[in-house]
């Protein structure tokens, strides 16, 4: 036993000096590598669009930016790409609205009610998120070959037409909207709804007048998320809607078609347009929905 004079510290009794610096360094390096991958990817895209120095005279930053923007929108001069852009914007917007319409009741049911098979319902709603995209497209194709599917197809052409694009986008995007709406309703105080009922509201009135207005930011987040998800959807569209120009071509299809014929310039240019849209979506979700919702949508 070591004896130490009172009032002094026995250095051998202290824990070994920790290497906090090394730990923090390791955290930064591991985290930094992934961030570098993301940023590097985007930077490479931008560099690809940069005007080549062989044009002779040096450009200032503004001119370079203008030239890059010009290159990014250059494919839009082609009518088939303009068609794809229009179909993308239209189908995504319809998908977003439909997704919110279906996600609000589903999210509300999951958040507020306890009933048998609730766990099963919850799991079923996760299927579109975990299923491989091509499988979703193929399954939709097969669904429409069943007798009820054929009956519908007799009245409205879905497969290999624009409605197939929307249905394929909706199948996946709605599952994300459901998660967001559920997180939204989970975060709400159910008391306000109950108080509304004691004040004379039916369940529907309480939902319509109190709960839904309080969920408006969540609805906007859910719609934005569904929109973004739909914009990037390609796998199910490829199988279920096809890649026909002026018929079912959306922006991801354009990238695929341009890339497959070796037109890398156009493929990257269209990609940059979609990057810009994604950044816009991120901004909306961060500033409107709040971090809690964005995280809740992903983690639940």
């Amino acid at each position: 036993m070591i004896r130490v004079a009172p009032g002094t510290v026995d250095p051998s009794n202290m824990p070994r000096r920790g290497s906090d610096g090394l730990f923090l360094l390791a955290l930064s390096i591991i985290g930094g590598l992934y961030v570098l991958l993301i940023v590097g990817m985007l930077a490479a895209d931008i560099a690809f669009l940069r005007p080549s120095p062989s044009t002779g005279h040096a450009l200032n930053a503004g001119q370079a930016l203008a030239a890059m923007a010009g290159k990014a929108v250059a494919p839009l001069r082609r009518p088939e790409i303009r068609f794809a852009l229009r179909l993308s914007l239209l189908s995504c917007s319809i998908t977003a609205i439909l997704s919110v319409f279906f996600a609000v009741p589903l999210g509300y049911i999951l958040s507020r009610f306890r009933f048998p098979l609730r766990g099963l319902l919850d799991a079923v709603l996760d299927i579109p998120i975990v299923l491989p995209p091509l499988v979703i497209g193929l399954s939709l194709l097969i669904l429409l070959q069943t007798p009820p599917g054929r009956f519908i197809e007799r009245h409205i052409t879905i497969t290999y037409a624009a409605p197939a694009v929307i249905l394929a986008q909706f199948t996946v995007a709605c599952a994300f909207a459901v998660r967001t709406m559920r997180a939204t309703f989970d975060q709400q105080n159910p008391r306000t709804e109950q108080v509304a009922m004691t004040l004379g509201c039916s369940r529907f009135q309480a939902f319509w007048l109190v709960t839904l207005p309080e969920a408006s930011r969540g609805m906007l987040t859910a719609g934005t998320l569904a929109w973004a998800r739909a914009l990037g959807e390609f796998g199910p569209i490829l199988v279920f809607a096809g890649t026909t120009r002026f018929r079912t071509e959306v922006l991801p299809t354009s990238i695929f078609l341009e890339f497959s014929v070796g037109n890398l310039d156009a493929a990257v240019a269209i990609s940059m347009l979609m990057v810009a849209a994604a950044v816009g979506v991120l901004i909306v979700i961060r500033f409107v929905g709040g971090q809690g919702l964005a995280a809740g949508a992903v983690r639940r």
């Binding site: 105080n189 008391r191 109950q194 509304a196 009922m197 004691t198 004040l199 004379g200």
Partner: protein
């Protein structure tokens, strides 16, 4: 009056059996008991927000056991107030009247009356987010009283207030009682609330309700 007869409640592992008590017309009863003894659950049952396992509830001489919360003629102030965050104070106060489709003129007059009674005149156009504890408590009280309910159910209405706001609320609740003669069931764990306001103390202990006189030795909190 409030008459609870043979009330049994289940909430998960929690249960209350065969509770009976009565608060006479115009009375102010204070319901006391330890945390987790089921005071809030009893209020919820009277509101119609909690299913009964057995028993009946009568309010103002009417059996409301099977009625929806909307039809019970109650004003409920929950512990967390639960003000409607997307509405102004004015809209919160007018809510029960809007549901009842009162004419706009009468709603305005009633809101004005409540604002005067509860000193909310300055706050009518604010949203609940910026209100102090005492202010939001007064708004929640006003919202509950707007449609002139026969029964007022208060769940720890003064719990989050400092001493000064607390004694102001005591005065206010006495004032409300003078004006409305509403029968009140008031959950609290503060003896001072009982001394100031109650003419009847209901003590919830070991799953039974004991009615004791206000001046009898009240349990310490």
């Amino acid at each position: 009056m409030i008459r609870v007869n043979g009330l049994s409640l289940r909430a998960g592992a929690f249960r209350l059996d065969d509770l009976s008590f009565e608060v006479p017309a115009g009375g102010h009863a204070v319901l006391m008991g330890r945390t987790g003894s089921g005071k809030t659950t009893i209020l919820e049952a009277i509101c119609g927000l909690h299913r009964l396992a057995a028993g009946t509830i009568q309010l103002m001489g009417r059996d409301v056991t099977r009625l929806k919360p909307a039809q019970r003629g109650i004003g409920y102030v929950p512990q967390d107030r639960a003000l409607f965050g997307t509405m102004s104070v004015r809209e919160n106060l007018a809510f029960a009247l809007r549901i009842r489709r009162w004419p706009r003129r009468l709603i305005e007059a009633r809101v004005r009356e409540l604002a005067d009674l509860l000193c909310l005149g300055e706050l009518l156009d604010r949203t609940p987010a910026g209100l102090s504890g005492g202010e939001s408590q007064r708004v929640a009280l006003g919202r509950a009283l707007a449609a002139r309910p026969g029964v007022l159910l208060l769940d720890e209405p003064l719990s989050a207030l400092d001493d000064q706001s607390r004694s102001q609320m005591h005065d206010l609740l006495k004032e409300v009682r003078r004006h409305t003669n509403v029968v009140t069931l008031h959950v609290t764990h503060h003896i001072e609330d009982a001394r100031q306001l109650a003419d009847q103390v209901l003590l919830l202990e070991n799953g039974a309700v004991k009615c004791i006189a206000v001046d009898e030795s009240l349990p310490s909190k």
